[in-house]
């Protein structure tokens, strides 16, 4: 897990001094891997779990039963908001403290969802197609009908990005400070949010696109197209890096796991397929009752499939094919619009046509965060000094 080095062929190196240096370096790396592995003992928290005995099944456990059984603080994380401004897209900030909601009728809100504190809410006056939080909660990007806007954490409009027209999906690459957008025109555009420069724009040449996800391990964007293909893009190349034919029919949703080893796609053929991203081969597929609307993978590898009137969460479903799901959440009457796992919390947010539902999914979040990387408890000073 912690080994980042590979044993190099020493015979190839003729310089004795260099060979000694490399050997010493390898010994040091091995020690570092060992101490990092030993330091796992010191991690403060454990992951969540949901276990039932005998003939019981975890997917029969309702959210209300989970709320009854857990502590008050966790029970407070399961809530629903009834909102009436259209199907809601939802997104969490990188550290999981803040959530942004975008209603299709023009409602945009940023809230600290644990403290139930509203940072801002505005009615933008036109359709909102997607929302994403940039590097921290001080900036959110909203894909509105015509252009894409960036708002402050007080709701002040900071930028109007006129290069991003008629955008369907936004993705923010946090380590490159790039905001990527793809829309009905089929153009994929990358904008540097630190310098403001439009870094790259690529014609996908596959028509309107409304499915986009990034691979968190290498910042490659996976786009799903109407002809059943998934293409992978980098800002450096005009052509896609990879083209995969995934589904018979439109690709409805795409997700990539944290380590970048699995690609999950959902199509109108009511299948959810899990692909190995190293060999680009199909591992297994699941059949769903209706075509999936949205997919998301949590930090610990739980797969959330948003179907029309329910969300199904699968556990350990990426490596092996599972026979039954882990948690099922039904909400009759609402239609699913978006699913998003909260980083570092055991919580799944479902954006529906009637508002937002936040449900507790034990075991989905990473229990131990690294304060130097992403800190859910960041003070304003730490937020400004974060690298």
């Amino acid at each position: 897990l912690f080994n980042r080095w590979r044993a190099r062929a020493m015979q190839g190196v003729r310089d004795k001094k260099l060979r000694t240096k490399l050997k010493k370096n390898e010994a040091r790396l091995r020690n570092a891997a060992r101490s990092a592995a030993e330091a796992e003992l010191l991690l403060p928290s454990d992951a969540g779990y949901l276990e039932v005995e005998g003939m019981e099944r975890t997917w029969k456990v309702k959210q209300a039963e989970i709320v009854d059984a857990v502590d008050l603080q966790t029970a407070a994380k399961s809530f629903s908001l009834s909102l009436d401004m259209g199907p809601y897209r939802c997104a969490y900030s990188r550290n999981g403290r803040y959530m942004v909601l975008g209603g299709a009728k023009g409602h945009v809100a940023l809230l600290d969802w644990q403290a139930k504190e509203l940072s801002f809410e505005v009615g933008v006056g036109e359709a909102v197609r997607d929302v994403v939080v940039l590097h921290n909660e001080t900036m959110t990007a909203v894909a509105q009908k015509k252009y894409t806007y960036v708002y402050d954490n007080r709701g002040i409009e900071l930028h109007c990005m006129r290069d991003h027209i008629d955008v369907n999906r936004l993705e923010f690459l946090p380590y490159h400070f790039l905001l990527a957008s793809v829309g009905n025109a089929g153009w994929l555009k990358y904008q540097d949010t630190s310098t403001g420069q439009l870094v790259a724009q690529h014609r996908t040449r596959l028509g309107a696109c409304s499915v986009m996800r990034q691979n968190p391990s290498n910042a490659v964007l996976c786009l799903g197209h109407g002809n059943g293909t998934v293409t992978m893009w980098s800002p450096n190349m005009n052509e896609p890096l990879v083209r995969m034919l995934c589904h018979r029919g439109t690709v409805r949703a795409v997700a990539v796991d944290r380590e970048g080893l699995s690609l999950i796609t959902a199509g109108v053929d009511s299948t959810v397929k899990v692909w190995d991203l190293r060999t680009y081969r199909l591992r297994h597929e699941y059949r769903t009752t209706s075509p999936a609307v949205e997919l998301d993978v949590s930090q610990r590898g739980l797969l959330a499939v948003g179907l029309r009137a329910q969300t199904v969460v699968w556990k350990d479903a990426l490596e092996k094919r599972q026979a039954s799901p882990y948690v099922v959440h039904r909400y009759d009457g609402d239609r699913t619009c978006d699913v998003a796992f909260c980083p570092f919390e055991d919580v799944l947010a479902v954006g529906t046509s009637k508002g937002l539902a936040s449900i507790v999914v034990p075991g989905s979040g990473e229990p131990n965060f690294d304060s130097f990387e992403v800190n859910p408890f960041a003070t304003p000073r730490q937020r400004s000094e974060a690298t």
Binding site: F2, L50, S78, A357, V360, E366, F369
Partner: protein, 481 residues
Amino acid sequence: LAAAPARPHATSFRAQLRDVRALTMKVKAISRSQREHTRETSADIDPLQRNYDPALHPFERAREYTRALNAVKLDKVFAKPFLGALAGHTDSPTCMARHPKHLALIASGSADGEIRLWDVVNQRCIACCSNAHRGFVRGVTMSRDGKSLFTCGDDGSIKQFRLPRDLDDFEGEDVISRGPTAIDPVNAVDTLRGFLGIDHSWRDRRFVTAGSAVEVWNYDQDRPEMRFEWGSSSVTSVRFNPAEPDLILSTGTDRSVALFDIRSEAPVRKLVMNMQSNDVAWNPMEAFNFTMASEDQNCYTFDMRKLDRALCVHKDHVSAVMSVDYSPTGKEFVTGSYDQTIRIFGNMSGHSREIYHGRRMQRVLCARFTQDARFVISGSDDMNLRIWKARASESLGVKTARERRAENYSEKLKDRFRHMPEIRRIDRHRQLPKSIHKARKLKDVMSKAKKRRESNRRQHSAPGSVPNVSERKRHIVRQVE
């Protein structure tokens, strides 16, 4: 909050199942308390936690590379090595000695026979003896207990001076305004033969001089205790080994470097090189290794146990290397050269890591590390002793723990990525005087041509008739027992 709907009295089967499940179900979710992750008072530090799982740290290599690039650029921004010049000599300082106990006290002898004691911290001369020698002062050395200073010169005399116990006597406004105190030798020996170098033993009350022969003196007698001669040449410098108290290394005008052992009263071994060595220095940490500063612009590091090949050939100067001195860490040494620059080499690296030059600095005749390995002092023909930092971008003064950690991290990053082209380019960049730049280029062209010609000769001769001699052996002529 969505309230759980009020359930009727549980009679239905489904409800009973639900109750049973609630009893047997095990569920736990992540629940972190805000209090644990917030500092209690503003005087506390913010609580932090680490998780070294690589999945939480994407793009490690790229981010480290960017940090290394920034570190190396900042290095160049903060590189201000020159600290000050010690002026006072009226002719070029030819030799220097540092005090074994005081970091700030150094002694220098100049070409007009003057000896001066300097306070490096306050950058002023504290004592001066203007007529110590008639002619060049060829060697200056301090005894290990720090009480005496021995000097020798062209006029054949060895003078002993008493060193101040501490520098407090030389503080104070009136003392500074008066100028350097005049001091006189407490002891002197006159001979008819000139001396070219002197060194003091670190253990015994004896010192060794170089001149027509290597002579070992002790404090009590007017004539040398022992005299070693080997061949008819003069001996230009001598050094006691820092670990073995009876081992002496000397350089001679017959292009040789000779090892002597006092106990055996016989010379041990002699190594003859292509060109004469001007100075030699023992590695204080690896006391079997020594480095010689040679007239052929290189420095050679040898292991005294195996003199048939050099351990390392240090090539970067464009003119004769006049002086060499090791850092107390044994990891690097400073060289002063006739080409008006001083360079700092790593003890096993073939090229210099640093070069210092100045428009007013002329031929460098002596260069020394200070005893804390942080500063380098050079004495040059323009009659000044210059103080430089050993690490050009080091910040002087007390550093906080956070600063030290940040510096260590930057150093390690630079080490890891030093070979990458962008970083290497920035790291290696030095502004050189035009003469040196041109001389380097010319040297480069000439050495490439020589190599090419030799390889051509080898190709077109009978196999084995033009042997491929390793660079480490190429400059050795022979070894003599």
